[in-house]
Amino acid sequence: MEDRGSARGGRRKYGPHFSTALNRLGYYLYGYRHFSSRIKGGHTNNKIRISTKPIRAISDDLDILVAFDQESIDLNSHELRPGGVVVADAKFNPTLPDGVDARLFAVPITAIAEELGTSLMKNMVASGASWALLGLPLEVFNKAVEEEFGRKGPAIVEKNVEAVKRGAEYVLELAGGPLEEFRLEPADGRQKLFMIGNEAIGLGAIVAGCRIMSAYPITPASEIMEYLIKKLPKFGGTVIQTEDEIAAATMAIGAGYAGVRAMTASAGPGLSLMMESIGLSGMTETPLVIVDTQRGGPSTGLPTKQEQSDLNAMVYGTHGEIPKLVIAPASIEDCFYDTIEAFNMAEKYQVPVIVMTDLQLSLGKQSCEMLDYEKIPIERGKLVKDAPPLEPNELFKRYEFTEDGVSPRVLPGEKYGLHHVTGVEHDEAGRPSENAQNRQKMMDKRLKKLKGVYIREAIRVDAPHEAPDLLMIGMGSTGGTIDEARQRLAADGVTSNHVTVRQIHPFPADLLLPYLKSAKRIVVLENNATAQLAAQIKLHCGFADNIRSILKYDGTPFLPSEVYKACKELN
């Protein structure tokens, strides 16, 4: 179902209590926000999909459309499935466009809200109406309302509860009771969380021990910063809003060098500005965690729209050659656990780690299984405390040649740990050196650190078939859509396996190879125009003749029907 209108006061407030209540009942939810890069005005909508089973994709069509203006009906009613429902504010005398097979319930949303004191309560009236149509118990909804408005006093709560009730009563009378075809089966009642990927990343950062975030505001990354601004002071840490993304990245490097787990988060334009800093982190072997919440590029591109087109920038960006890890969470749970792992990897291997999300994963609010803060223990690698005394004029060998390439690391302040750190090529103590032999050894030392290193579940595999018709490969937020398309394909007798690539760089070629070999046809699905993930697969694994790409770069996420159709049309 969908709540639509233009971005005026309070509209974005529609979602929270409605979804919170559904979450408490144990339903699986998946949200999608359509919004523009402007503060007020412009068409906006908030889709929420409700299910008794896990879902990780937006749906092809709508059951219920809640409209606060005629434009919303005109723009979106074509998405309604036949026999769908429109709940609209009677105030604007709503009408259905010709040829739309739907039932229209005009509820005096504004009138009821104003009668109760303020038009701000429009959302509550509309929520009450939709809730009632689904045949759900009002008590659970009221409890969510109570929690949201409780601190404003009982009078406000009472008014909002009344608004919900009036909306519900009005629509039930129009419809003659809850709509049987939309009645939700009881959910499993298991406790789940309901959050966006950016919040899960922020939460993961706190659990990982990250205490400094330096960042510059940008869509769609800012929620990570906003979350940590609220929470880090409780843990002695802080968020610093910098003058630009270069300062954000270099400040995080400074903090990382001095021993605090630090991060920054940005999107494409900010990532571009951070490239030199990423090289500094790689060259000085200083831990750094960067989150890139991909949005439509290039340049300013489509700041509020879905895309997965920064992959090449993350893998190849920054001049010269450094070890670097790029990991791609594919669910809200991943956003949490992968962020913890990112901090571990950054310290264990003393490298920059980029956590790559996309707009839909970062901002789409969805159900998440309960999280376990002890699942990934904190590991800090070769961090040396109380180093033994050094000879006079001897420096600590911060860049000592070792078997695995990872050198012991001391933090400034350590009595016998003095050393130098530089982005210039250097010797084992960090002194600048242009010696050819040293240069080659240092390059090899740094680059071997990540040889064969994989994160937990570097690829995620769902491979029920030994020799499937299709191997479907994706990353980021597209996994749920791929799985729904697979179900439809299965109904047509097309067998498929599914691999989600979660470590983008270094590319987990040997893990992927067996699945590539066993499939009759390989399909790589990505939200970009130049098939960047497919290019990685071809480069590292081959199979160029057998790989087909399904690409979408219009700013919206894939729909299951689009993927299904594209698979059917493959050559």
Partner: protein
């Protein structure tokens, strides 16, 4: 307590003989000893350019970063471990061209660090191009007909950006420079010292002799009050920025670290990374 010799290491600077940067290095080493620092308690962060090499020539924790970014790195170090004394340094190109954005914001942010600019009015490491501090008409490889841009005034910029400590010195005056660095280290907030540090190889105009002829020492004005911001700005303008000494200091404003809500006095880097189950449950509550 460490002597200034303990802040020396055995690395031979790659600066040209006679370079002003040698004295800046010596002044930092002396000042560090004079204020009672130990080498392990000092972090020197530098940018890129001839002067950027300074972090490698002082026996302390040294971080030689990227061009123009010494200040954000230094601020990150200080936030992570406020028990360290942090000195950022670099040249005029580093701080006033590529890094100018960071310079003004570091000044207004006011973390408790010291920033020393070795100002030679030219790009030395790239062998002689104009800098934002070059005077109009100054001939360099990149301005063969003379610079057609005006020179910027770092002191005026620092004052207008809300600096709490502004000083200027000359590398020949080791005594004054050392004292000013000591004061800068002791100042609780961002301390900015611009140091005329002549380039003997590429700048044949702004030489040691030229500076000696053109600068005035604030000691000549016994009534000068460095707590008066308006007077400071006037004096900078009257002398066309060619003055040395402590120009402005505001001891009343708190430094950034002291204003961060809930920020511990103890180094963040020394604190535990773990959180408790109760803390985690509290964090989850809003998502249920």
């Amino acid at each position: 307590m460490a002597t200034f010799k303990e802040f020396r290491n055995n690395v031979k600077p790659n600066w040209c003989p006679g370079c002003g940067d040698f004295s800046v290095q010596a002044a930092i080493q002396r000042a560090a000893a004079n204020v009672g620092l130990e080498p392990e308690g000092l972090a020197v962060v530098s940018g890129i350019g001839c002067s950027g090499r300074i972090s490698g020539y002082i026996n302390a924790y040294g971080f030689h970063g990227i061009h123009g970014r010494a200040l954000p790195i230094a601020q990150g170090v200080k936030l992570a471990n406020r028990e360290l004394t942090v000195i950022a340094s670099g040249g005029d190109g580093d701080g006033f061209a590529i890094g100018m954005g960071h310079t003004v914001h570091a000044i207004r942010r006011n973390l408790d660090i010291t920033y020393i600019v070795m100002d030679n009015q030219i790009y030395g490491l790239t062998k002689g191009q104009t800098s934002p501090r070059s005077a109009a008409g100054f001939k360099t490889k990149s301005t063969p007909e003379g610079s057609i841009e005006t020179s910027l005034s770092p002191l005026e910029i620092a004052l207008s950006a809300g600096a709490t400590f502004v000083a200027q010195s000359f590398s020949s005056d080791l005594k004054q420079l050392t004292l000013l660095i000591e004061e800068a280290i002791k100042h609780k907030g961002f301390s900015f010292i611009n140091v005329f540090s002549p380039c003997v190889t590429f700048n044949k105009v702004n030489t040691y002799d030229w500076f000696k002829e053109n600068i005035v020492n604030l000691d000549q004005f016994p009534d000068y009050d460095p707590t008066n911001r308006v007077a400071a700005m006037n004096k900078i303008m009257e002398t066309n920025g060619m003055l040395t000494g402590l120009i402005y200091q505001d001891k009343t404003r708190k430094c950034y670290e002291d204003l961060i809500p809930g920020f511990a006095q103890e180094a963040l880097a020394k604190q535990s990374l773990d959180i408790t189950r109760e803390q985690f449950d509290n964090l989850l509550a809003e998502f249920k």
